[in-house]
C-alpha cells in the first residue's frame, strides 16, 4: 500500500512531474490526431471507392462469352445476391454545336481527372444495376437541382426520340453548364471484325442528357457516363452489322436483359455477406473459368473491389505507416522526459529510500514505488492525451474553420482532395495501440530510475545528511 | 576616530507567517570597529542569525539602516549590494555551504569569480589561483586542493569555507555558529585559525554563537534576547 501512497504523494508535491505527463499527453495527442486525420482521409477515400464499386466484378469478358450462361453460373453461388451486366467503353465527349476549349494542362487541372473531355462509358441495365450498386441513390441525390434531375429514375434511359440517353456526373454538368435535354457527341472508336483484331474505326454517338448522377467519389463522377447497355451495344455495333437492328427490348425498361448477342464486358456482383468477399471471389473465379471453358488471355478475371483499387489504397496505407513512425519519435522523446524527471526524483529522494528501508521496505518495494510513479504519470498522460486527441479530432473541422476565421490560414485545403469537411476516423484499435506503446515506453523510462533506487544503499542515504 | 566598518541603526526585522507578523529584530543598534571581534550571544530563536543576514545584506531590514564604513547601504541597487557583499563581507556558515561539485580549490576560486567578467577573470586566472592556493595552504589544506567537499572532514570543510570567505579580503567576517557542527577538538582548531587570520588581516569579526566559552574570547559580547540587545 505504502508504495502507491508514496508514489501519489511524491507526484502531487512535485509539479515538475506534470511535465513528464505533459510530454506523454502531447505525444499521445499528436498520435491520435494526426493518425485519425489520416485514417479519416483513408476511410473517406475507401468509402468513396467502395460506394462506386461492386463487391466483386468479373472483368475482361470476351465478345464470345455467353453472358446469360455466365450470369446463371454466378448466381448459383450461395453468397451471390445479385448480378448486373455492364458494357465498358470510352470516348471523347463534346457538346454538340460548340467548340470546346483545349484540354486542361496537366498539373493545373484536378488531381484525379474529371475535367478532361475523355470519359469512360458504362452501359448498364438499370433494373439489374440497382440490385448491385446504389444506382438509384445516385440519380435521386438531394444535391441534384431539379433542372438536372432524371425525369423518371426507374427508367432513366427512356426516350421519345432517337438520341441515346446518357447520365452525366453532377460536377461536370455544373462546370460545363449542361442541363437535361442538352445534346452531346461522344467520339470513340471500335475495332471491327475478327475478335478485336480488325480495323479500328471511329464512331460518333449522338447523345442527349437524361439527367445527372452524383456519388461521393469525385473521380467516378468526373470520369464516367451511364448509358443503357443495349443502346450502347447497338451504337457500337451499328456500322459493324449494317443489317436490321437487333430485336432487343427498349433499354432501361426493367425487362429481361437482352438476349444471346448482348455485348457484356463486365459483370458486377453484390454479395450477401461482403465480409467473405475473398473466398467468394475465389469460388467465382473457378465458376467463370468453368463456364468459359478457356483459361487464357486474362479473360474473365474476378476481382474484388479492394483488389481493383489496390495500388491506390496501398500507397495511402504506406504513407500512413511512415507517418506513424515519425509520430513514434515524439513518444520516444517523451520517454526521455519521464526518464529525466523520475531520475531526478530518485536522486532527490535518496533520503526517503533510507527511511523506507529502515522501516522495513524491501528493495522490491522501493522499486515499485518509483515504478508506480512512472506508471501513474504515464496513465494520466495517456488518459489526457487520448481525451484531448479525440476531442480535437472530432472538432477538427470546427478548429479549421476557426483558424481560417482567425488567421486566414487553411491548414487542410479540402478542395485539393475533393472533400467537403476534414475527415476523421477514430479507430478504437489504434487508440489501444497508442496506449500500449505509451505504457511500453513509460515503463521503460521509469524502470531505469526505479532500478537505480532499489540498488541504492540505504545506509549511505541515512548517513548523507 | 575612523567610522566603524559596520553599523546597524535601529534595525527592525519581521517575517510574515500567513496573516500574522512575527517580529524577530526589534530595534537593534550595533557598531563594529575595524579589527574588533564581536560575539553575538543569545538563545536559539533570539534573532542572531537574522541579524547576521541583515548585516551581510542577504536580507533587507524592515526598518532601520545598515552602514558600511559609515555610508548607508540603503537605496543601493541589487547589483551594488551584491558587489558590497563580495568586497566588504565574508560569510562562514555553520553547515559550511560548499558547492559539492567543486574541489576545495575551486570552491575558494569561485569567490574570486563573482564580480569579474569572463574575460577579465581569464586574464588574471593564474594570479587568482595562486592567491587561492596560498590561502588554502595558510588554513592548512595545502595537500587537499583537489578534494571535493564529500571527501573532506567537517573541520576541513569549514577551513575551506573560511578560505573562501577571506579570498576577497573583506573588512568584516560574519560567522554563523562556525563550530556548531564540529566536535570540540576540531572546533578549537578552527576557532584558533579564525582568530589568527583575523589578527593577521585586521578584519572585523562578528561571531554568532550560543557557546559562552567561545564568546568570552571576543573583544566584546553582545547579548540578544527576543530581538533586542540586552547588554
Amino acid at each position: 500500500m505504502y508504495r502507491f501512497y508514496l508514489a501519489i504523494r511524491y507526484l502531487v508535491t512535485r509539479p515538475i512531474n506534470l511535465l513528464g505527463m505533459l510530454g506523454i499527453t502531447l505525444s499521445v495527442w499528436a498520435l491520435v490526431v494526426v493518425v485519425s486525420l489520416f485514417s479519416g482521409f483513408m476511410v473517406v477515400i475507401e468509402e468513396h471507392v467502395r460506394e462506386t464499386s461492386a463487391d466483386v466484378a468479373v472483368t475482361n469478358l470476351p465478345l464470345w462469352a455467353d453472358a446469360n450462361k455466365l450470369g446463371r453460373a454466378l448466381t448459383d453461388d450461395p453468397n451471390v445476391a445479385a448480378t448486373a451486366p455492364r458494357l465498358v467503353h470510352f470516348g471523347l465527349l463534346h457538346e454538340a454545336g460548340k467548340r470546346p476549349p483545349p484540354p486542361p494542362l496537366p498539373g493545373r487541372s484536378a488531381l484525379h481527372g474529371g475535367d478532361q473531355p475523355f470519359l469512360f462509358v458504362y452501359g448498364v441495365d438499370p433494373a439489374q444495376e440497382r440490385q448491385v450498386s446504389a444506382f438509384d441513390a445516385w440519380l435521386t441525390s438531394e444535391e441534384i437541382p431539379a433542372a438536372m434531375r432524371v425525369a423518371d429514375p426507374s427508367r432513366p434511359f427512356a426516350t421519345a426520340n432517337d438520341r441515346a440517353q446518357v447520365l452525366v456526373g453532377l460536377e461536370r454538368m455544373k462546370r460545363e453548364g449542361l442541363a437535361r435535354g442538352d445534346e452531346l457527341v461522344l467520339t470513340t472508336g471500335i475495332r471491327r471484325g475478327g475478335e478485336g483484331r480488325g480495323e479500328f474505326q471511329q464512331v460518333a454517338i449522338e447523345l442527349e442528357i437524361a439527367g445527372a448522377f452524383k456519388t461521393r467519389h469525385g473521380g467516378f463522377d468526373g470520369n464516367i457516363l451511364f448509358m443503357g447497355i443495349g443502346e450502347l451495344g447497338r451504337r457500337l455495333a451499328a456500322s459493324d452489322e449494317p443489317g436490321p437492328a437487333e430485336p432487343s427490348p427498349t433499354p432501361g425498361t426493367g425487362n429481361e436483359p437482352a438476349q444471346g448477342q448482348q455485348r457484356v464486358q463486365e459483370i458486377a456482383i453484390r454479395l450477401h455477406d461482403p465480409t467473405a468477399v475473398d473466398d467468394t471471389a475465389r469460388r467465382l473465379q473457378e465458376a467463370v473459368f468453368r463456364t468459359l471453358q478457356r483459361r487464357h488471355y486474362g479473360y474473365g478475371l474476378v476481382e474484388t473491389w479492394r483488389a481493383r483499387n489496390a495500388d491506390f489504397l496501398g500507397s495511402i496505407e504506406h504513407q500512413r505507416w511512415l507517418l506513424k513512425i515519425v509520430l513514434f519519435v515524439i513518444l520516444v522523446i517523451a520517454a526521455f522526459l519521464m526518464l529525466a524527471t523520475l531520475s531526478m526524483m530518485v536522486t532527490e529522494k535518496t533520503g526517503d529510500i533510507g527511511i523506507l528501508t529502515s522501516m522495513g521496505g524491501t528493495p522490491g518495494g522501493v522499486t515499485m514505488t518509483f515504478l508506480a510513479c512512472g506508471l501513474t504519470v504515464t496513465a494520466l498522460g495517456v488518459a489526457l492525451g487520448i481525451a484531448t486527441g479525440t476531442v480535437t479530432s472530432i472538432y477538427l473541422e470546427e478548429i479549421r474553420q476557426f483558424l481560417i476565421w482567425a488567421t486566414g490560414v487553411d491548414l487542410f485545403p479540402l478542395d485539393v482532395y475533393n472533400l467537403d469537411r476534414v475527415p476523421c476516423n477514430i479507430d478504437g484499435w489504434w487508440l489501444l495501440q497508442v496506449t500500449g506503446m505509451a505504457f511500453g515506453t513509460g515503463l521503460l523510462a521509469s524502470a531505469l530510475p526505479a532500478w537505480r533506487a532499489a540498488r541504492h544503499d540505504p545506509l549511505i542515504s541515512l548517513r548523507g545528511n | 576616530m575612523t567610522s566603524p566598518v559596520l553599523t546597524a541603526r535601529c534595525v527592525h526585522k519581521s517575517y510574515r507567517l500567513g496573516k500574522t507578523e512575527i517580529p524577530v529584530l526589534r530595534g537593534v543598534d550595533l557598531e563594529v570597529q575595524s579589527g574588533e571581534i564581536v560575539a553575538l550571544l543569545g538563545a536559539s530563536g533570539a534573532g542572531k542569525s537574522t541579524l547576521l543576514h541583515v548585516l551581510g545584506l542577504l536580507d533587507p531590514p524592515s526598518e532601520g539602516e545598515i552602514l558600511y564604513d559609515g555610508r548607508s547601504v540603503h537605496g543601493l541597487s541589487i547589483r551594488e549590494r551584491a558587489r558590497l557583499r563580495h568586497d566588504h563581507t565574508g560569510f562562514v556558515f555553520q553547515f559550511y555551504h560548499l558547492i559539492p561539485e567543486l574541489t576545495a580549490l575551486q570552491n575558494v576560486l569561485l569567490a574570486g569569480m563573482m564580480t569579474d567578467s569572463v574575460l577579465r577573470y581569464w586574464s588574471r586566472r593564474q594570479e587568482a589561483k595562486k592567491a587561492a592556493t596560498a590561502l588554502l595552504e595558510r588554513v592548512g589544506l595545502g595537500d587537499r586542493l583537489k578534494h571535493r567537499p564529500a571527501e573532506l572532514s567537517g573541520g576541513e570543510r569549514q577551513r575551506v569555507a573560511i578560505a573562501r570567505a577571506l579570498l576577497a579580503e573583506p573588512r568584516v567576517i560574519l560567522a554563523d555558529e562556525p563550530t556548531g557542527n564540529l566536535d570540540s577538538n576540531t572546533a578549537e582548531g578552527v576557532i584558533e585559525l579564525m582568530f589568527e587570520l583575523q589578527r593577521e588581516r585586521d578584519a572585523a569579526f562578528v561571531l554568532v554563537t550560543h557557546d559562552e566559552g567561545l564568546a568570552v574570547r571576543a573583544n566584546r559580547i553582545i547579548r540578544l534576547r527576543d530581538g533586542v540587545v540586552v547588554g
Binding site: G97, P106, G107, R108, F118 | H86, L110
Partner: protein
C-alpha cells in the same frame, strides 16, 4: 556583463551530473529525427519539383482565344528583352490505338478496359496531344534530355530493347518537323501490315507523321519498335458562319516515334508529342491552304537565364499586356509553378503536415531540457544561497542555468546534426543493409518508382535546425534561470 563564475559553475554542474545526458540525448534525438525525416521528405519534394520543372517551359502564354495565330504573337513576345526564345504549342486530345499485329495474338486491344480513375490515362488510349514544332521546341524545352531520360528509365525497368527516339535526328528540317521515321522503316512496316506501298523500298517516302509518347504510356501501347503504325482518333470542329460547330470524328494514321521521359508522373502519363502541323491540319488549318493560319493554344517561352523573381514577374506582366493588346482579348502568362499549382499545392500540404509533427517533436524535446534544468535549480537551492552570500548577482546566478541549457542544447544539436547528416547521407546504404539482413524494406521502392531514395539535405537547413534547437534550449532555460535568480538568498540558505 556575465560574471566569470556562471560558465565555470555551469560546466562543473553538467560534468558532475549524468542526468543532464538525458537532456543531451533528447535534443540529439530530436535534431536527428528532424533532419532525417525532413531530408527524405525534402528529397522527394525536390525530386518531384525538379521533374515538374523539367516538363514545363519557363513561361507559358495560355488561355488564348480560339484560332490565335502564332506569327503575330511571336513577334510581340520575342520583342521583350527578357525573352530568349519562343515555340508554338497546340493542345488537343485524342485516342491512340496501335494497329493490331497481323500475326500472333499478343497485340493489345482496346476492348479490355481497366477503369482506373486515379491514373485514368494509364491503361486507356486517351492522350493529351501536345502539338509542337520540332524545329523550335528544343529552344524552350530540353527535348534531348527527355529522350535520353526515357532510355534510362526504360532500361531501369528492364526494357532493354528501348532505343532513343530517332525522329528528331533527321537532317532534313521538313521531315523533322513532321517527326517522320526513315523511309525504309515505314516501308517495312507497311510490308508487315500489308498496307499500300511501292514495289521497291527506294521509291518510298514516309508519310505517317510521328509521335513521341510519355514513357508511362508503355503499359497501354506496349510498343517499343519505332515506326509502328498507330491510329489517332479525335474530334475536329467545323465552324459555321453563326459560330456553331459541327463535331467531326477524325482518324489519321501515325507512326510511333519513341518515348520521352520528364519523370513528372502526370505529364508522362498523359502527354503525347505530335507535329503541330499535323494537328493544325486535323483542326482544319492545313498548311497547304492559303487562308490557313498557324493556330496555337499556347506559346512556350524560354526566358533569359538568371532573371530574378521580380524581373520574371515584371516580364510576365509585360508579355501579358503586349499579347492582350495584340489579340484584343485576355490571356494568361504563367510560369512553371503556376502551371502546376494544384499538383504542387498537394505536395506542400503533405509537407506542412510533416513539419507540424516535427514541430511537436521539438516541443517535447524542449520539455526535456526544461525538466532537467528545473530539477537542477530545485536541487541547487542551497548553492544559489551560497552564491548570493559570497556576492553573486542575480543575473550571474541565472546565467549559471542559462549556460547549462546552452551547453545541453549545443552538444545535443551538434551530435544530432552530425548523426542526422550521416544517416541521410548513407540512407540508401542503410536501407540496403536493412533489406539484406531482415528482408523488410523501410522504404519500399516500388511505391516511389525510383532507383534510390532521393534525399536532400542542405547545409543551411542543418545549421538552421541546429541553431533552432540551441535557441529553443536557451529559451526554455530562461524559465528555471529566472526562478533561480529570484530566489531569496536567506530562504535558500535555510532550505533543507
Amino acid at each position: 556583463m556575465i560574471p566569470a563564475f556562471s560558465p565555470f559553475l555551469a560546466l562543473r554542474y553538467l560534468l558532475r551530473r549524468p542526468i543532464m545526458l538525458i537532456g543531451v540525448f533528447g535534443v540529439t534525438f530530436a535534431v536527428w529525427s528532424l533532419l532525417v525525416v525532413d531530408g527524405i521528405f525534402t528529397g522527394f519534394v525536390t525530386e518531384i519539383r525538379a521533374d515538374v520543372r523539367r516538363s514545363t517551359p519557363d513561361v507559358l502564354v495560355t488561355d488564348l482565344p480560339h484560332d490565335t495565330s502564332y506569327e503575330r504573337l511571336r513577334a510581340v513576345i520575342a520583342a521583350d528583352p527578357a525573352v530568349r526564345a519562343t515555340a508554338p504549342r497546340l493542345r488537343h486530345q485524342g485516342i491512340l490505338q496501335p494497329r493490331p499485329a497481323p500475326r500472333g495474338s499478343s497485340s493489345p486491344t482496346i476492348g479490355t478496359n481497366a477503369v482506373n480513375f486515379e491514373d485514368m490515362t494509364m491503361d486507356s488510349g486517351f492522350a493529351l496531344l501536345l502539338g509542337v514544332d520540332p524545329l523550335r521546341e528544343p529552344e524552350v524545352t530540353p527535348l534531348g534530355e527527355w529522350l535520353d531520360r526515357s532510355v534510362e528509365v526504360l532500361h531501369a525497368h528492364s526494357i532493354t530493347r528501348a532505343r532513343r527516339s530517332e525522329v528528331l535526328e533527321d537532317p532534313d528540317p521538313d521531315r523533322r518537323s513532321f517527326l517522320l521515321t526513315a523511309d525504309h522503316v515505314e516501308w517495312d512496316m507497311r510490308r508487315i501490315f500489308d498496307l499500300p506501298r511501292p514495289e521497291r523500298v527506294e521509291d518510298h517516302r514516309s508519310e505517317w507523321p510521328g509521335m513521341i509518347a510519355g514513357w508511362r504510356r508503355l503499359t497501354s501501347l506496349k510498343l517499343i519498335e519505332q515506326g509502328y503504325p498507330i491510329d489517332l482518333m479525335t474530334a475536329s470542329f467545323d465552324v459555321a458562319g453563326d459560330g456553331s460547330a459541327q463535331v467531326n470524328t477524325r482518324r489519321i494514321p501515325m507512326a510511333f516515334g519513341g518515348y520521352f521521359a520528364t519523370s513528372h508522373r502526370m505529364f508522362d502519363q498523359s502527354m503525347v508529342l505530335v507535329p503541330i502541323e499535323t494537328l493544325r491540319t486535323l483542326l482544319g488549318h492545313d498548311i497547304e491552304d492559303d487562308e490557313a493560319i498557324d493556330i496555337v493554344t499556347d506559346v512556350a517561352v524560354a526566358m533569359q537565364p538568371g532573371l530574378s523573381a521580380g524581373e520574371l514577374s515584371a516580364a510576365k506582366s509585360r508579355i501579358r499586356t503586349a499579347v492582350a493588346s495584340e489579340i484584343g482579348d485576355e490571356c494568361a502568362v504563367i510560369d512553371w509553378r503556376e502551371q502546376n499549382s494544384v499538383f504542387l499545392r498537394a505536395i506542400a500540404q503533405e509537407h506542412s503536415m510533416m513539419q507540424f509533427v516535427l514541430f511537436v517533436v521539438m516541443i517535447v524535446a524542449a520539455f526535456v531540457i526544461y525538466a532537467t534544468l528545473h530539477m537542477m535549480v530545485v536541487q541547487k537551492w542551497k548553492d544559489i544561497g551560497i552564491l548570493a552570500a559570497i556576492g553573486g548577482t542575480r543575473r550571474g546566478i541565472g546565467a549559471v542555468f542559462v549556460f547549462c541549457g546552452l551547453v545541453v542544447g549545443s552538444v545535443g544539436a551538434t551530435i544530432g546534426s552530425v548523426l542526422g547528416w550521416l544517416s541521410v547521407h548513407y540512407l540508401n546504404d542503410i536501407n540496403d543493409w536493412f533489406h539484406r539482413t531482415t528482408g523488410a524494406s523501410l522504404f519500399p521502392r516500388h511505391l516511389f518508382d525510383l532507383p534510390v531514395i532521393p534525399v536532400h539535405l542542405e547545409l543551411s537547413w542543418v545549421i538552421q535546425v541546429a541553431l533552432g534547437a540551441v535557441l529553443l534550449a536557451l529559451l526554455v532555460a530562461l524559465l528555471p534561470a529566472r526562478k533561480a535568480a529570484r530566489m531569496e538568498p536567506v530562504a535558500a540558505l535555510s532550505y533543507e
